[in-house]
Each structure stands twice: as structure tokens, then as C-alpha cells.
Amino acid sequence: MSQQLARPIRRALLITSMPVYLLLYAPLALIAVFSFAPAPGGASASAHWYADLLHDPDVLAALRRSLILGIGSSILGTILGTLMGFGLSRFRTRARTGFAAALPSLIIYTPIIMPSLVFGISDLIFFNLMHKATGLFSAGLLTMGIAHVTFQAPYVALVVFARMAGLDPNLFEASQDLYADARQSFLHLTMPVIRPAIIGGFLLAFTLSIDDFTISYFTAGPGSTTLPIYIYSAVALKGISPDINALATLMIATVIGIGLLQYVFSRQKERHPMPRTGD
């Protein structure tokens, strides 16, 4: 944009943006600050509540379950989501117009825009029915894992689909033209070029799983309390305590860390300078 807005308008926009940023980040900062509250009887800032967490068996058990659930579901969700994104991108190149062309986006976006409450309730009903019918699918980490995979896969598919859509379709013909059969083409072209998208999709899936409360709450069973559920019940029971602040701060740090990792991987594929034209 070469045309600048008038100075007063720019200033007004800047001023109105401040409260937005404040509301976004102040609560997070506040929690981090409170997490370093003084130890009981102490007077200065301390890491006491962090040390406390490390000795709390309930917290450690919830963390362990969250990690098992997060890693397990992310692996499966990434595999299924990658296949989904890849397949739908292939479908897209065949059908260019009308409903058929819009179908892949529809399939991917519907689960993403579905309220998680609806998702959670339907999962609950579904697993109940399945349990009655088969005796399997009793509420627990397994049902939670399946539920997580169902909302992770579309996100991964979206990332992979976007990467595929951004590629020159001639690339795949070029590999065929250069003697690669379907297997070689997938191994030596498709996989390497969508690898950054797969890694990014995995990290996204992991963050989604680690902090999911709604769907987890509906599909959890006895003994499958994850971190978000633990935090919710702790707050409901005894109100907000400094150790919850410490736990929340750790989660914020983890999510930001994964976000940065994702940024690094997504930058990697575009690190090359812009092509020059002519000689």
C-alpha cells in the first residue's frame, strides 16, 4: 500500500489496538508472575510452586497421561491427516469446477469449524453405543485418543493439502517422465516436498491434543485425567492456587515452544532467496 492513512487516523488505530493486545497478553503475563509467588511463610518471589508440582503424584500422573495421549494421537492423526490431505489434493486436480472441486475443502473444514462441544457430545453418545454393542470402547485414554485423532486429522490434512496445492503439478509428471514409478515418485518426490508440512501438522496436532479440554472431558473415563481436566477440577474444587499458576505457565511455555518450532520448520522450505529473472 503506497497510500498512507491520515496521521490522526493512524494514531487512533494505534490507541485502539492497545487494549486488544492488553487483553490478549496481560492475563498470560499475570499468571506467569503469580506462579512465582512466595512460598508459604516466605516473603520474596520463589520457584517453590514449581518444585511443589514435581512432587505432586496427581500432577505427574496427569502429565504422563497427557503426553501419552498427545504423542500417540498426534502420530496417528498425522498419518491419517497426511493421507487425507494428499488424497484430497489428488482429487482436486481431477475435478476443477463445481461441487466436486469444492468437496475437498468441505470435507476438511467441516470438522474444523464444528463446535467442540458438539463434537464431544457426539463422541460421548457414539462411544456409549459402541460400548453397549461390543463391550469395547469403555471410556478412557483409548476413547480420548480416538476422539483426538478425529479432530487432529483434518488440521494435518489442511496443512498438507495447502502444501500440495502450492506445488507445480508438472513436478509429478516430471518424476514420471524421469522413470519414477508410483512408489519411487512418492518416496523421492512427494514425501520430501511435503515433509515440512507433515512435521508442522504433527506439532499442530500435538498442541491441539495437549490443551484440549472439551472433547477430552466428554470422552474421559475413570483414571484418565489429563492435565487440562486436572486443572479444571483443581480450580473447581479449591479455587486458583499458585501451583495451578505454575502449571499453567509451564503449559504456556510448552505451547509457545512448539509454536516456535513450527515456525522454524515452515520457514525452512522458504529459506531460499527470491529467484532472479534474466541473466
Binding site: S175, L178, Y179
Partner: protein
Amino acid sequence: MPGTTDRGGITLEGISRVFGGGIVAVDQIDLAIRPGEFFTLLGPSGCGKTTLLRMIAGFETPDSGRIVISGREMQTVPPHRRAVNTVFQSYALFPHLNVAENIGFGLRMRGIARAERKFRTDQIMALLQIDDFATRNPAQLSGGQRQRVALARALVNEPEVVLLDEPLSALDAKLRAELQVELMRMQKRLGMTFIFVTHDQQEALVMSDRIAVMERGRLLQVGPVLDVYEQPRSVFVAEFLGLSNIWPITPAPGNTADTPLGRLTIVTPIGNERTAMIRPEKIWIYNDTAAPLDRPNIFRGTVREAIYMGASTQYRVELHDGSIVLALDTNNQAAERSWQPGEAVALEIKPENIILIDG
């Protein structure tokens, strides 16, 4: 192999391709391309030339007809089993591989050992003068360098046939002219059959042994460049390839025909032909006072436009009856042989230079 005598030769028999919605992209094409030939498919965009190329590569399957490459039937052979390599218009270089790896891709897929792969890749990179970029990524290359890499990636496999889909269209004029010459040299040196697709008539004229002019899925004319240019058999070919003056004609007594310009003397009496064509460079221009009035087909008029093009000048001359004739004159004489708008001139249309076209 029984068919090896025809290594690099291509025969198309009754090839058709109909897309969804009944769009006939390629319509009953018969064509024989000789081994080692630089053959150009020339036509406007949407004429089916790229579809035809893609059927030879194996990316499209013809709805009917036979494709024979080097004596072998190709209808059921997938692209990766054809001894044909393509240079794509978009170059389609693999973004995750560097230049040397891109070029070696085909050899690697065929399971050729690393040492030989390196030897052949180095050799072709030296030949195309891209060895300095071996470890760069495609995104770090200029358009001309990418073009060379795409060409090297095809040539290194020593295919029987190289297919080139408008490979020069994204380059600027000077680079394009350089690469045209380089492509021709490379083709003659390696002796492979090149099938080149372009919509650029100049490119087709410069590079090809033979050309085929395509329109709406059909081949209008196939032949050596000189024949197609000098003896176009249709108005479309005449107009698509170079500049032309085209007039409807009706028979008149003897070796003459009536045109909007007036009566024209021609070499032999006309038969079914209803159109006369003459290239602008085959029309002689004289000062009005120096017109050779003893010769046939002298037309007098006034220069309306003179476009100076360096080596030659193109004149739009309006005859006394109002019709416009294009004439081209080389600037190999002194300034007295050039005319300004408004000057009176005489044009000579020699009977032997008039091409008669059916219909």
C-alpha cells in the same frame, strides 16, 4: 530389438483426444516424425499441440489411434517406461534437490550406479555450462539457468526423443535467441529427435527441420520450414507464419485473375483457387516516376506508414482504389531507396511470387 532401425522415429495414426464437455483437443492426427529430426508443432494457444505432446510423453491417453515410438506400440506403456524425456514450460525442477541432483534424478530412478551417474551428470553440466551451479537450489537460479537445468535433466538420460513444451516462452528476447541456437546445436550434436511445441512462428522458422501447423486439433500443413513458409496451402498457415497480403480472386481470361486491386497477371490460369497470397518482402517498390510500366502487375499508390525495423522497413501502401498493400524492403541501399509517408510509389507484384490458395 526388432524396431531399433527406427530408433527415435515416431508414428502417430488417427490420434484423437476428446476432453470432458466434448471439446476435441486433438482430431484424427496422422504424423510421421523421422529419427534425429528437429520437428516443431506450431499453432495458437488451444490448438491441441500441447495435448499431442503430452500423449507422446504418456501423460494423456489418446481416445483413439496408435502411437509408435522407435518401432514400439506405446498406448499401454506408462510415462516412466517410455524412452522419452520432457522439458516442461514451467521447467518443473524439483525444489528439494539441487541442480546436480535434479539432473541425476532420472539416472537414479533407473538404478544407475552412483559413479556413472556422477560422470554423466558432470558431463552434461559441462556441455550446457551449468557446472558452476551444481550445488545450488533451483530457487537460486535465473530463468535462463533453470531452462538449461531442465534441458540437462532430460538430455542426460540419452532419450530417443526429447519433448519440449514452449521451453523458451518465459525468457527475454536476447536470452531466447541465444538458447534457440544452443538447442539446435545440442540437438544436432546428440542426434536425438526433438519435438518442439511453440506458438512463436519466428522460433519455429529459426529452429526446425520440419514444422506442422496446427489449428483446432488438426494438422493444416506439415513440411520443411521453407516449403510451409513459401507455399502455404491455407490462409491460416499463410497468416500465422509471417506477414502476408491476401486477396480473394475470381478467374479472368488467360493467365489473369481479378482481385480488389484490379486485374493481376499470374503464371498459369487459375483453377479452383479463390485466394491469392503474396509475402510483403516479395513486392518491389519504386519511386512513382521510375515505375517499370512495361512489366505486368504494376500498382501505384501512396505510402501511408513506414515502420523502420533496422535491417528492413515495412511499408503500408494505399493504392488509388483504397486497398492496402504491405511491402517490405531491405535497407541495404542508400537513403534514396526509402520512402516517407505521403510519397507516391509504384509496386510490382511479380507473377511467379503469387501463391494461389484453394477456397
